[in-house]
């Protein structure tokens, strides 16, 4: 049985969004994608706090891009899911599927 850190729902959402965005995963598109998928306003401060926590756990890495004039001379910070992070996402998915299958009321077509 695997033990260790469990991803929170927002951490899982953030990691899935990084995987969906690929090479273009920095603050603005990450927040936009989360907003589109969850239909609620996202605070960039919370996104960064979550990604920094995931980075400390080794699930995510980040690097700074070049500063651009459109951003007032500030650089973009690109995030990427690591191999360890990918394993954690798969592990979480399997756990959720197992839990889902154990609830008859939530089977397809029934709410």
């Amino acid at each position: 049985m695997k033990t260790g850190y469990h991803l929170s729902d927002f951490e899982l959402i953030a990691m899935l969004v990084l995987l969906r965005l690929g090479e273009d995963a920095y603050g603005v598109p990450i927040a936009r994608e989360i907003e589109e998928q969850t239909k609620r306003e996202v605070k960039l401060g919370s996104v960064y706090a979550t990604l920094e926590r995931l980075q400390e756990k080794g699930f995510v890495v980040s690097e700074l891009g070049e500063p651009t004039p459109e951003r007032g001379g500030r650089a973009k910070r690109y995030f990427r899911v690591t191999r360890q992070g990918m394993r954690k996402v798969r592990e979480t998915r399997l756990t959720l599927i197992r839990l889902w299958q154990g609830v008859p009321e939530l089977k397809a077509g029934r709410l």
Binding site: G27, E41, K43, L44, E52, E70, R71, G72, R74
Partner: protein, 202 residues
């Protein structure tokens, strides 16, 4: 729809983010907010995001800077102890009679000058101790520079004076004297340390 580049986001919010960016290491976040604003987000959105970014980063900041906080609390406690020992409370004599005699001189002056005298005296007394604490901090971390020290000291005196005016109407004001000195010392250390942190973050 992209907003015209001439439209600028709220300056105060950007300034606040820039001031705290080196400590919070969130310079890209400020850039994201500017980019989001130029893509059509409102000024309200910008302010909410900036406020939340600072709020969320606060525990992280305290975790990183707990040494500074403990140092400021210790010194402000010492200042409070000095005040309490100086004032003759509940029939007890003053442990610092000369300083108390100077403070008491202000009680004989007409209002509002009596208040001006008291606030100036209290501010000068605290500023001396805070300046020593600040100097010791800068010397210990080998970041001592007279210009930097003077800039931080001006901020310390301003903060102390404002806080002392604000608490002058509170009964038993000496009980809360530790708060202005703590805030002033923390801000002084932050200001003196600002250039170093920016360099590390860059």
């Amino acid at each position: 729809m992209t907003r015209a580049n001439s439209l600028q986001p709220p300056r105060l919010a950007t300034w606040l983010l820039d001031q705290f960016s080196p400590v919070l290491e969130n310079a890209p976040l400020a850039g994201d907010l500017i980019e989001g604003f130029k893509q059509g987000r409102s000024a309200g959105w910008y302010w909410r995001q900036a406020f939340w970014a600072l709020l969320v980063a606060l525990p992280n900041l305290l975790r990183k800077k707990w040494g500074c906080l403990a140092y400021a609390i210790s010194w402000s406690g010492l200042i409070s102890a000095a005040w309490i020992s100086m004032l003759p409370i509940h029939g007890r004599g003053s442990a610092l009679p000369l300083v108390f005699a100077l403070l008491a001189k202000g009680w004989g002056v007409e209002w509002p000058w009596s208040m001006v005298y008291q606030v100036a005296f209290v501010t000068a007394f605290e500023a001396m101790i805070v300046a020593f604490a600040l100097g010791a901090y800068l010397a210990f971390f080998r970041i001592w520079k007279p210009r930097k020290f003077l800039q931080a000291l001006i901020l310390v005196i301003a903060v102390l004076a404002i806080c002392n005016v604000a608490i002058s109407g509170i009964p038993a004001w000496w009980v809360v004297l530790s708060i202005p000195s703590m805030v002033a010392l923390l801000l002084g250390m932050w200001m003196a340390n600002r250039d170093n942190t920016s360099r590390h973050a860059a």
